[in-house]
């Protein structure tokens, strides 16, 4: 019999079988192991009895009464051990609801498009141009060539990542759109057909996903064009 087998089968609370007894007689390490297990068992069995509280039966009687009257569940629910974790979970749930329903900051306070709302917008953003208005020029806010008078009749303007689809009544007379650097917004000049009113629309560098109400400025066309607007 091997030592490991002896260690697996030896039971200090029972008389060892013949095979184990013979092994223990000739194997000192296993004998030492058996002695330690016997001492361990004696140590455990010498554990003093733990007394019950004097009012054990009285408490039990109260709880049994609660069970009979159907209030047992509430008795346990009212126990702080259960109430505190429940209260903590409730507070966390309320906080989560408040955070999830928190209104987003107003877009008017930011010059650029809302990156949060961007995915919800269609890839080709339709620019609302008031009726009777026309897009006459678009240019980056950076210094750029002056607007040209002769125009094209294409209803779409494309530059870089910008893509605009203009309404029929907003056919630009001067449909050019220059993408500036990443940090320079694009200015879009919209003119009423009669020429009495113009609007300057400031578009960010990336307009895909821009909100439907870009910041607009009304102005009277000046000799210096749009450079003095912002």
């Amino acid at each position: 019999m091997r030592c490991e087998q002896v260690k697996q089968q030896y039971d200090p609370t029972c008389d060892p079988p013949q095979s184990i007894a013979e092994h223990l007689a000739r194997c000192a390490p296993c004998r030492q192991y058996a002695t330690e297990l016997q001492r361990l068992t004696a140590l455990l069995r010498s554990e003093p009895e733990i007394p019950v509280p004097a009012d054990f039966n009285r408490q039990l009687q109260r709880r049994l009464e609660a069970v009979r009257t159907g209030s047992s569940a509430w008795w346990r629910f009212g126990d702080l051990r259960y109430a505190l974790p429940l209260a903590a979970m409730l507070v966390m749930a309320v906080a989560a609801v408040i955070i999830m329903n928190r209104p987003e900051p107003s877009s008017s306070s930011r010059p650029g498009p809302s990156l949060v709302r961007a995915p919800a917008q269609p890839e080709r953003e339709s620019l609302e141009v008031p009726k009777k208005m026309e897009v006459v020029a678009a240019r980056p806010a950076m210094p750029s060539p002056p607007p040209r008078e002769s125009g094209h009749s294409s209803p779409s303007l494309r530059e870089g990542r910008a893509s605009l689809a203009l309404g029929e009544e907003a056919v630009p007379q001067e449909p050019w759109l220059l993408g500036g650097s990443e940090n320079s917004p694009i200015l879009l000049l919209i003119r009423e057909p009669s020429g009495r009113e113009e609007r300057l629309v400031r578009l960010p560098s990336v307009v895909v996903g821009a909100e439907a109400k870009p910041a607009t400025l009304s102005l009277s066309m000046s000799e210096k064009g749009t450079e003095n607007v912002f």
């Binding site: 039971d11 361990l40 068992t41 140590l43 069995r45 054990f56 039966n57 009285r58």
Partner: protein
Amino acid sequence: MEAVSCQAPLGEVVSPRYGALDDHELMEATRRGDEAAFYELVQRYRTPITNYLTRMLNDYDMAIDLAQETFIRVFTSAHRYRADHRFSTYIYRIATNLAISELRRRKRWRLVSLVSFFAPPEGAEEGAELDVPDHRPLPEGALIEDERRQMVRRAVASLPEKYRAALILRDIEGLEYERIAEVLRLPLGTVKSRINRARRLLREKLRAHL
């Protein structure tokens, strides 16, 4: 059997005639609504069940709570009790289930509890701070003995629960292997294997005291 009218505190003094009845007979009387018979059972088992639960949980107050819960379940389930096993097997099984549920609840709670910030560091023995309080002044010999006793309790409480229950039932409560197998609903070989494994683990932990 005649029902005995016992006003509070029930069970503190039980009619001597119940002392002659075995556990099955007392459960039969309990099933018929005899509370005095029930409190005779309480009187017989409250100490071993409290001891068992205290060693399982290393938490005296919780052990008292669960011991009372054990008796409440015995009482409320008396109509379902069948005398095909010993009553002690039946009540130890209820207590074991409650203790294991409590240990698992603690494990779950420990994951999210803010209290865990103040818990002993990982690797510390489970429930080490939950020994039964005893504020009596101790002489030196008793102090050493008390320290050794607490060390044994902590070592037992640090065992994995599947080993712990089997070892306590065998080496502290003194149940036979067959009854432990019934309590834990395990094959006899598995019970013996778990007890052997638990002893070897404890031997490593308490080697300095052996």
